[in-house]
Subunit: 358 residues, 2 copies
């Protein structure tokens, strides 16, 4: 009796249908140990009718591919396919956007009281607003190492799906169900024959900081100057700019007790040698989309300031990128400046902006 | 006999027909104490037939205005209207462009053995390549404080023409004709009734450094983030970024014995309050044109390095802007990267680029 069996399968909702989310949906669907619902917002009409075309280093060429369920919004997903056992969040995390991740996932979380929230997202401090918004839910950390991009119905998956899953909190401070939920999710996500790879991560904060050694430096600087990593290096900045900036990230991590592996610096400086690769923040800037600035650089900078860590390079980069983010917000119409508001002493302009526009 | 009289008038060649050069031509023509030749390169057809339309706070509305002579190139000017007594250089100064200022003015200088070269240009160190290229010529320093922009035949002159003229060298190291040539040029340039203002500057290096307090900071940062000065200030950067960066400029100046007036910092922070003004480097970046980066920031940075002056903010800004300049050069087709050249260790890319592309 297949229907009876399928009812017992856990239900996974994936929110975020970019390069990461679609391959996660494909990994889970391949196993068929859970029922997968994918929220597809802007391209819903396209995907719900034609499905995805996928070119994957792992799963090969697929056309008209769909997960079990496709929903056009989180609310639609919750109403038609909920409640969910797992809510896998693969959206970008932009706390200064007009809608935050907590707000985006809320309809699903509220209607799935038992759900485990997995943040498969970059950056630091992404769990804090989730804890605050959903204090009764277990929130887990996922870090994805994957090469995958989505554009208009097509997924180009060049690097294999590689997930580190764990609890944001140190041992002893974890939710009682944490271990068993991590193990269950790994069991439904891990494909046979190691096609993909999902592993239990006992120290997710360290994993996040180590990814930041790359992201806080290359993502940010490429976004500022609008060049890919290799073009940065053609300008000879490995030693004068990139390495000392990466060492600043390591120093901030150390101030919260996280000892990063210093060999990561050399590894990350050279990881993209010759690839002419533009990181996500650079791509977002080029598209005029908001960047994941606050979770990639802003949160580390706040920790540096609190702990008195000297960050001469990253402080300047952050200050500059906040202005670029401001420009993108204005270009996207998130606010419209009235020049008459800014006529007096310029020392007051930030306060005026905050009072009138934020 | 008017022709005989006019023959004795000094001849002034103006190279650079943007907002500064056209108003200089107008100032000189108004006096009629010299014969003015203006080199107009890209818009020669337009200007030689229709002249300029000018909207000036000083000279009013003018249409079909032309100086005595209009030439389509420096060579054309030299052949038809030379030799010249004064060569007033009002072009941008971009030593890393495909053609330098020395190369641009060379045909006129070579055919005018007695000529005095006046560099009415921003930045630091602009005299050094001129001394090297034209060792037998007197080279003088002009600093313009003017609000004037040129676009396709039209000049919008909002702020009065205000020139500081002097010798680059300190007293005792000056050319024997220096003083008399400065006085003569002032006499032919100064309009009656103080319509414009040209003054003898006994300390041009200090004047240049003081202008850099503004330019090295606001020009550069606005170019990096693509925002005008007021929008920078709406982001609250006056104290954390602008002031300390300006103090770095003052510290570099001090290392070469130039004591800038520290009150300039507050003056310059607030000089554009509420004006939503985009400085020239920001405008150039927006237009995809090369920026005057090396004379505005590069030369001060080289002095800082030689003299061991700490410049934590400006060093990062300079490093970033060199990459933006690189991008603009690539976009303008000044080089075309072959990705195959950049496949090995990225530490070698700068050398490879230098060897193959520069």
């Amino acid at each position: 009796m297949t229907p009876a069996t399928s009812v017992t399968k856990p239900k996974v909702l994936i929110i975020g249908s970019g390069g990461v989310g679609t391959i996660s949906a494909l990994s889970l669907t391949t196993n068929n140990k859970c029922e997968v619902t994918l929220v597809v917002r802007s391209d819903y009409e396209l995907i719900s009718t034609k499905g995805y075309s996928i070119n994957s280093c792992t799963y090969g060429e697929l056309t008209n591919w769909k997960p079990h369920n496709v929903a056009k919004s989180v609310t639609d997903a919750a109403e038609r396919f909920g409640p969910f056992d797992y809510i896998l969040v693969t959206t970008k995390n932009i706390p200064d956007a007009s809608i935050t991740c907590e707000q985006i996932i809320k309809p699903a979380v509220d209607s799935s009281p038992e759900s485990v929230i997995i943040l498969l997202q970059n950056g630091l401090g992404v769990e804090k607003p989730m804890y605050a918004a959903f204090p009764n839910h277990l929130v887990l950390s996922g870090i994805s190492h994957i090469g995958s991009t989505y554009y208009h119905g097509h997924v180009d998956n060049k690097g294999p799906d590689n997930v580190f899953l764990g609890d944001f909190n140190p041992e002893g401070k974890r939710h009682p169900l944490s271990q068993s939920k991590i193990e269950e999710f790994i069991s439904i996500y891990q494909n046979p024959d190691n096609k993909n790879k999902i592993v239990l991560d006992e120290n997710v904060q360290k994993t996040r900081w180590e990814k930041l050694i790359y992201n806080s430096v290359f993502n940010t600087i490429t976004a500022l100057v609008n060049l890919d990593v290799t073009r940065l290096q053609i300008n000879g900045v490995n030693e004068d700019l990139i390495r000392p900036a990466m060492l600043e990230v390591i120093a901030i991590a150390k101030s919260v007790g996280v000892e990063c592996d210093a060999s990561k610096v050399d590894k990350f400086i050279h990881i993209g040698d010759g690839l002419f690769y533009a990181p996500s923040m650079c791509i977002d800037m080029r598209k005029g989309q908001l960047m994941e600035l606050e979770i990639i650089l802003g949160n580390p900078m706040r920790i540096a300031r609190e702990n008195g860590v000297s960050t001469p390079i990253l402080s300047v980069i952050y200050s500059l990128l906040k202005m670029v983010q401001f420009r993108i917000k204005e270009e996207r119409g998130m606010f419209e400046l009235n020049q008459e508001d800014f006529k007096g002493n310029s020392d007051d302009y930030a306060r005026i902006f905050h009072d009138k526009y934020v």
